[in-house]
C-alpha cells in the first residue's frame, strides 16, 4: 500500500477508465475522490455502482458533470438527471438486479467465471444470457465483472491498508476492493497499525494499492 495525496490519486485515473464506486445512495461513497475527479475534468467513465444516488450526491455528482459514458447499476429511480440523460442518449445505462450485480463483482474479485442465479429467469434480464438447469431448477449464468479502479470509502484504515467499515456504509465497498486492478481508498479516519483488531478488519491490507492521505 502506498499513501497518496488526493490530487495524485485522481490524476492516475485516465479518461474512459472503468470504475467501481462504493456506496448505496451516496452512503459509503468516497466523496472527496469524486469531487476531485470532477475538479480535474475527468470523463468518459464506465461506472459500476449500486445506484446513481440523487442529483448532487455521490455518483449523482458525476452524472450532473456528464462524466459517465456508461453506468452499470441496479437503480436510478431517485436521480431524474440519470433518467433524462439515458432517454436523451447522452449516458448509457445498463440495469442489473442488485443481488446479481454484487455477485458478478464478487465473482470478478474471487476468481470465479460467474454464478448461477435464479434472479431474472423469464424476465427481460434473461435476454442474451445462457439458462442452465441444476437439479431441475432454472438459473441464469451471470458472468464475472472486473474494472480498472475501485474507489472505496471506509470508516477506518490503518497505516498498512487494513480497512474497517461502519454500519450501512459497508455495502459494495469491500466486494469492489477485490475486483479491480487498482484499489484507491478514501478513509474517514487513518489510524496506526494494530488499532483495528484482526477480527474487525474486513478488507485485508494487501488488497489496497493506494490510501488517500488527509489534507
Amino acid at each position: 500500500m502506498k499513501p497518496i495525496p488526493l490530487e495524485e490519486a485522481v490524476a492516475m485515473i485516465p479518461d474512459g477508465a472503468s470504475l467501481m464506486i462504493g456506496g448505496f445512495m451516496g452512503v459509503g461513497t468516497p466523496h472527496r475522490v469524486i469531487d476531485e475527479l470532477i475538479r480535474q475534468g475527468k470523463r468518459g467513465f464506465t461506472v459500476y455502482g449500486n445506484d446513481t444516488a440523487r442529483p448532487g450526491v455521490g455518483i449523482g455528482r458525476l452524472i450532473t458533470a456528464k462524466a459517465i459514458g456508461k453506468a452499470v447499476v441496479s437503480h436510478i429511480g431517485l436521480n431524474p438527471e440519470t433518467q433524462q440523460q439515458m432517454l436523451a442518449g447522452e449516458t448509457e445505462v445498463e440495469l442489473v438486479p442488485q443481488g446479481t450485480l454484487i455477485e458478478r463483482i464478487r465473482a470478478g474479485g474471487f476468481g470465479l467465471g460467474g454464478i448461477l442465479t435464479p434472479t431474472g429467469v423469464g424476465t427481460v434480464v434473461e435476454e442474451g444470457k445462457q439458462r442452465l438447469t441444476v437439479d431441475g431448477k432454472d438459473f441464469l449464468l451471470e458472468t464475472a465483472l472486473r474494472a480498472d479502479f475501485a474507489l472505496v470509502n471506509c470508516s477506518l484504515a490503518d497505516y498498512l491498508g487494513n480497512l474497517a467499515y461502519a454500519l450501512t456504509a459497508r455495502n459494495f465497498n469491500p466486494v469492489m476492493a477485490m475486483a479491480t486492478d487498482t484499489v484507491i481508498v478514501e478513509a474517514n479516519h487513518i489510524v496506526p497499525v494494530g488499532v483495528i483488531p484482526p477480527d474487525q478488519v474486513v478488507t485485508p491490507a494487501p488488497l489496497v494499492d493506494y490510501l488517500v492521505t488527509n489534507d
Partner: protein, 216 residues
C-alpha cells in the same frame, strides 16, 4: 381509514414473531407502524442492516446508518450490519420470511410486474427481482386500481419482476391469496362487497361461499 392505512394494518397481521421481513418503499414501509405489541420482528434494509428501527430523533441521525433510500434510520438492540453480497444472500437464499412490495400489475398466475413502465418510468429493478425470487413469502401491497383501471389482471402487460408466483395481494378493497395457484378472494375491506371487488378486478377470482370482512 384511508387506503394506505387499510393495506398496511392488514398486512401487519401477517407478521409472526421472529420473522425476518423486508419492506419495500411506499405503502410497504408503513407496515412497520402496525407491528403488534410484544412481537419481535427483524426488519432488513437491503443496503446492509437487520434490526432497522424508526427514524432517529432530531439531531441523532448518523451518515452511516440509513435505509435503502439513503434516509437516516435507527438500529434496535441486537441489530447487525453486513455487505451487499450478504444482504442478497439472505434474500436470495430463502432466509427472508416475508417481503412486502408495491405492485403495478399482478396477473392470474400470480406474477408480479412492479419495476418499470417502458418509455415512461425506468427506475431500475434495484433489489425487487431478488426479493420476489428469494423470499419465502411475497406479499404485494397496492391500491386495487390505477386511474380506475384494474391492476389485478388476466396477464401482465408490463415487464415481469419474476415468474415466481406471489403469495398474497392486499389492497384497500380485498385480500387475495395465490396459495392454491389461482387468485382466491380471502377477505373484503370493511363496507366493501364481493361484487365491488369483482367489478374492480379483471382477473377471474375464486370466490368462496363465505368471504369475511378484514378485522382492522
Amino acid at each position: 381509514m384511508d387506503a394506505q392505512t387499510i393495506i398496511a394494518r392488514r398486512i401487519a397481521q401477517e407478521l409472526r414473531s421472529g420473522m425476518l421481513v423486508n419492506l419495500g418503499v411506499g405503502i410497504p414501509t408503513l407496515v412497520a407502524n402496525y407491528v403488534p405489541p410484544g412481537m419481535q420482528i427483524f426488519f432488513q434494509s437491503e443496503n446492509g442492516l437487520i434490526g432497522t428501527g424508526p427514524i432517529p430523533e432530531q439531531g441523532m441521525a448518523h451518515a452511516t446508518l440509513t435505509d435503502a433510500a439513503g434516509q437516516p434510520v435507527t438500529a434496535l438492540p441486537g441489530a447487525s450490519t453486513f455487505d451487499s453480497a450478504m444482504s442478497f444472500g439472505l434474500i436470495r437464499g430463502g432466509h427472508l420470511d416475508m417481503t412486502v412490495l408495491g405492485g403495478l400489475q399482478v396477473d392470474e398466475q400470480g406474477r408480479l410486474a412492479n419495476w418499470t413502465i417502458p418509455g415512461k418510468m425506468v427506475p431500475g429493478m434495484g433489489g425487487a427481482m431478488d426479493l420476489v425470487v428469494g423470499a419465502k413469502r411475497v406479499v404485494v401491497a397496492m391500491q386495487h386500481t390505477a386511474k380506475g383501471r384494474p391492476k389485478i389482471i388476466r396477464q401482465c402487460s408490463l415487464p415481469l419482476t419474476s415468474t415466481r408466483r406471489i403469495d398474497l395481494v392486499v389492497t384497500e378493497l380485498a385480500v387475495i391469496s395465490f396459495a392454491d395457484g389461482r387468485p382466491t378472494l380471502l377477505e373484503t375491506a370493511p363496507g366493501i362487497s364481493v361484487n365491488d371487488v369483482l367489478t374492480n378486478t379483471e382477473a377471474s377470482l375464486v370466490v368462496p361461499d363465505h368471504v369475511p370482512s378484514m378485522h382492522l
